[in-house]
Subunit: 677 residues, 2 copies
């Protein structure tokens, strides 16, 4: 018989015990994640400023309407810039502060889309005139590309910009309802200006989409300028992106000066001659930058999900009674830790990958500035594949983490539902994942085609070396112990990629329906696997010789990534006969046992590995992920603030509940005339 215990008290004890059981030095791992103590401390100082400022209070957020979320979002933004001025934050610190807020704010569209496009593609004169005002947000911008009827295929956008040589103006026009700009972040209620993508028309000829700087609202009273109809497109799925005013706009023959065409690359002369852009590719940089940043951002979201769910799993007890007379902690069940520890490994991997990618991007941008586009193709292939991988993995992980928390995971107070719904569109924006898959596949097929003539492979196609003749496809037979050598899963993931690409090339005339997705995934995972192999080798160096334990644990985290990635892609491995099998017995068993063993080794370190992310309770904003483990107290406290609880008897009582009860009593022929039956 299980002994009774104070469930609430126990949660605190459990968390303390789990923390004490961790053998790693949490700060050392945190410094590894943050590139040293200083970066973490700088960030943490900003967190402290924010979480102690009542403007950034989150306690009412879950109860707010969409309009209230928008209004609050603008107030947060205003306060951030007030603090920037007051505390003398530099641009990096201000960006960090905005990112810490954990809100999808309209200002992001100004900073990430509007401003870079304007600066990169505007003429020097235009940038000189407005650049400073844009940098200080003296005007607030948005980037108007997508239309109601068209997204990905920009060549079919319907908005027109017709050149009027008489007045040296462009006339921006939305000829149809489907040409309305749609989904434009910060457009609905906030932006004063925008960069509009429109088909350039000169003397009736269509020169395709170009960019134009257009004022949208009056600088006196914020009302839309004449000829422009603007509004918000309405709420998003699951309440996601609530503070962002994704908007629509229709232009009714709106005139702008000729100089407001962003004409660094393409130009129109006064008399209406079109001048070709010299280096169209030079404008791709911005998109790649956003995708590179998505890898880091996704990694930190997985870190939040892992932190919340692993903490809850550590203090939630349920089911079988252990030797201590208490029910077992949920995290100790294989079906739970097998779900959660891989998320932890994804977080560590994507955070590291993001750092590498940012470095690679900087190198490329430097070359690009000198007109050297040689690194662009590789950067494009890598960021496309990683964008697909990080967003699809991240969305899935957040939901897996939420679901692992059972009933309470469905409470808004778990915090993961909000993160999920905010992150959900990442699989669609900045290139729909299914469209990007095709680009990854195209790059892979191209590399394969050129393979015979060159062995000088870029990192993203390094796996193709396996197909250079003489080719000998291996047949692996590994014991659980042999799986623990990272070289094996890395090599198998590379073989898998090589063979699926080769097979696709053979069947180009009759592809099956899902081949792009399978090939893209295999190719990206092979690239990542080799990077992760390097992370294992480098962990010791980065941590220093005194930190052997931490290096070992990090090695296991990365190994778990490799093994579970291989497990998820095992169909290809088996299908191409890469794993030795005997009819009637399970060829995957030794791999699965190896995963089980790595999980068991990591389990005592799980709380330490999540603490190393360094999130405060305010940052996580989750009743189930509180640092002290007292999840039930936190849930109770939050529930008391629910608006329905502010009236003892709800408005619905007189209007609906009472009539239902009285009708029922009449039908039953029972007269209920007492408070208590």
């Amino acid at each position: 018989m299980a002994k009774p215990y104070d469930v609430n008290e126990q949660t605190g004890k459990d968390m303390t015990a789990a923390r004490a059981a961790t053998t790693i030095a949490v700060e050392e791992v945190r410094n590894y994640l943050y590139n040293g103590a200083e970066e973490f401390q700088t960030r943490h100082n900003i967190v402290e400023v924010l979480q102690n400022d009542p403007v950034f209070d989150k306690s009412q957020r879950d109860f707010m309407s969409r309009t209230e979320r928008y209004t609050r979002g603008m107030a947060l933004t205003n306060r951030i810039y007030e603090l920037q001025e007051k505390l003398g934050w530099n641009q990096q610190q201000t960006s960090t502060a905005t990112a810490i807020l954990d809100e999808q704010l309209p200002i992001a569209l100004h900073n990430i889309a509007f401003q870079p496009v304007f600066n990169l593609q505007g003429s020097p004169e235009l940038v000189k005139k407005y650049g400073r005002l844009i940098a200080t947000r003296g005007i607030f911008g948005c980037y108007l590309q997508t239309e109601l009827g068209h997204g990905t295929n920009v060549s079919r956008l319907e908005t027109t910009a017709t050149y009027i040589p008489e007045t040296r103006e462009f006339e921006i026009n939305s000829p149809t309802v489907t040409s309305s700009k749609w989904w434009i972040g910060a457009l609905g209620k906030t932006a004063t200006h925008g960069v509009v993508q429109a088909k350039l028309i000169i003397e009736g000829k269509d020169y395709g989409p170009h960019l134009f700087f257009v004022q949208l609202r009056s600088m006196e009273d914020h009302k839309p300028l004449p000829g422009i109809i603007i509004g918000d497109i309405g709420p998003k799925s699951g309440g996601g992106f609530a503070p962002t005013d994704n908007g629509f706009a229709r232009f009714d023959h709106v005139r702008i000066p000729k100089e407001h065409m962003l004409s660094k690359f393409a130009q129109v002369t006064d008399d209406g001659k079109y001048i070709q852009p010299p280096h169209a590719k030079l404008s791709y940089g911005g998109m790649l930058y956003i995708r590179a940043n998505m890898v880091t951002g996704g990694g930190w979201l997985m870190a939040k999900a892992a932190t919340v769910a692993i903490r809850y799993g550590t203090v939630r007890r349920q089911g079988a009674v252990g030797p201590d007379g208490l029910e077992q902690a949920v995290i100790s069940y294989p079906s739970t830790y097998y779900r959660l520890l891989p998320i932890l490994s994804h977080a560590y991997v994507f955070i590291q990958l993001g750092k590498q990618l940012t470095k690679a991007f900087d190198t490329m941008a430097g070359r690009l500035a000198k007109g050297d586009t040689s690194l662009l193709a590789e950067m494009h292939a890598t960021t496309s594949g990683l964008k697909v991988l990080v967003s699809s993995t991240g969305v899935q992980d957040i939901e897996v983490a939420r679901r692992s928390m059972g009933g309470h995971g469905y409470s808004a107070f778990s915090g993961l539902g909000r993160i999920y719904n905010d992150y959900l569109p990442s699989v669609t924006y900045e290139g729909d994942n299914f469209a990007l898959d095709q680009q990854v596949v195209r790059a892979a097929l191209k590399s394969l085609k050129g393979l015979s003539s060159s062995t000088n492979l870029s990192p993203s196609s390094y796996y193709l070396r396996l197909l250079i003749p003489p080719v000998s496809v291996p047949n692996f037979k590994l014991t659980p112990d042999q799986w623990l050598d990272p070289a094996n899963p890395v090599l198998l993931l590379e073989w898998r990629a090589a063979l699926v690409v080769q097979e696709m090339a053979r069947n180009l005339k009759e592809p099956d329906a899902s081949v792009n997705q399978r090939v893209s995934k295999a190719v990206t995972e092979a690239f990542v696997a080799r990077q992760v192999g390097d992370m294992i080798n480098e962990a010791q160096t980065k941590l220093g010789n005194k930190r052997q334990k931490e290096a070992l644990v990090l090695g296991q985290v990365f190994l778990l990534y490799l093994l579970t990635t291989l497990e998820a892609g095992i169909t290809d491995v088996l299908s191409f006969g890469l794993l030795s099998s005997t009819t009637g017995s399970d060829a995957t068993r030794s791999l699965r046992l190896a995963i089980q063993r790595v999980c068991q080794a990591l389990l005592p370190e799980a709380i330490g590995l999540t603490d190393a992310f360094g999130f405060t309770d305010w940052e996580l904003d989750s009743a189930l992920g509180v640092y002290d483990g007292k999840v039930y107290e936190a849930l109770w406290k939050r529930a008391q603030q629910e608006p329905l609880n502010q009236m003892e008897v709800p408005e619905a009582y007189e209007k609906s509940i009472k009539p239902i009860l009285q009708r029922g009593q009449r039908q039953a022929g029972v007269k209920v005339d007492r408070a208590k039956l």
Copy 2:
């Protein structure tokens, strides 16, 4: 060069053309789904009543706060019973009307949980006294089981019901914060009464959880009765279950009469003697009924998701230009139809399975009423496995459908986000899927153990016949054409189940971490596969000889289910050497080509097959799933109603936007004193 076209006009034309291209008679398939024309007509008549009644208007739903959703939900409920009385609906019709509303209402908890438990487990005297009043909703009930600190493991619930022989009363008490009842639907603001699960304590001895009928609120003013603290537990993930007041309750030594213990099975004598329940199992019926209903319900949700996404994919054009000079419809891309047609097949399969299960449940319930529990174990195994399969498939399908719609899929107006967030907890409630997996596995291992002694296998373990000696594990090598014979995928899915169960039994001493999930899935899918094989055989009979075309198309729908289920489970098939493979070339290719061919054959029928579900626009409540295909008009119209659009300049302007702009202008040293720059 693609020719320009009126995108909005084209959507209507595309839908008309797709509808004209369908070769099946839609009404015939609809009648197949609804067991004949009458059932559909009866349902449709109710739909007409509801969609023409302003109380059931949905146009403001997406903009409502949680409190407004609750208030509206109660108004809908009141109106349903008003209509029941006015139009003379019988109970079946009233249930249908409530289900049609597509809202998670508190009344469901009264109808599905409170009332059946009360009637099944209350003493004859208690049922006589309150049964009628409960049936007419003269009192409104809820079912209080889960607590803040405990869910699944009811033996650890902390609420106590202590017998006081002096007054012949029970004293209900919540000794700790974690003993608060939590998550209880309809408790927060609505219910007047409840059935409370509490540990029965007699003279200090704990007899485990029992049920007690407890009044919660005054029948005079709806205020909680003295000693009871009640409230709503707050919002749910993604705004799901908004109209339901999931609540908490704490009892401070609340006394109830002895007669209010539900004592049909267990009793306490006046002097405090405990009398054992004779047939504990008899009380399981209700839970199985709910799970059986979940199969049908899940099938119809998949039908909604498939209808919306297939309609949108039919009219949304994007990317490559086809021979007609227009961009291709999104549905014509393999990466789209390969995602959507399987959802269509899931809908057809689960709707059919649900009907069979309801029939089987009725048979079992009939026997159970006579004290015959012989069918209970099989029903338990079947409903557990199917509940896991339908809920996990359904949640995934709704999101796959939403995501297939790209950017616009993320708009709340797509309607699928709402359905998703309402359906999400189905993987947790009525038995967490991970817990149910264990029960499926346990039943399978038991059947395997008893296999040598008996060949009399129930449907849920029929696949185990393959393991009766002499066993000869086959090695399949099939051309794409051979895959089109349903017998092959059915047999392979059965072999897969047999071998994973056998393998698990061999490795019980060292299981891997995910084995329960894999085995449970394989076992349930083998059972379903055989049922689906039968559906294919019976479709012709059910449709009649004149309907060969429809039977053929339905056969393809079911075949697609079998082939894609096998594809998703192909790892096990390959791992056990059931598919012949050659090192270096893809063993799964012929299966994937077969899927591709079935998809291509079904594609022209997709609109007909979704029309056959018979949903009206009001039912779907999706701008992207409108019957006439004019999705852009619908999106435009809905966006105009967004509350943020009701004010030209938002409240945030004076408070936050203006300060941001002015600070920026000051920092830039630019004085902006004109409306237009």
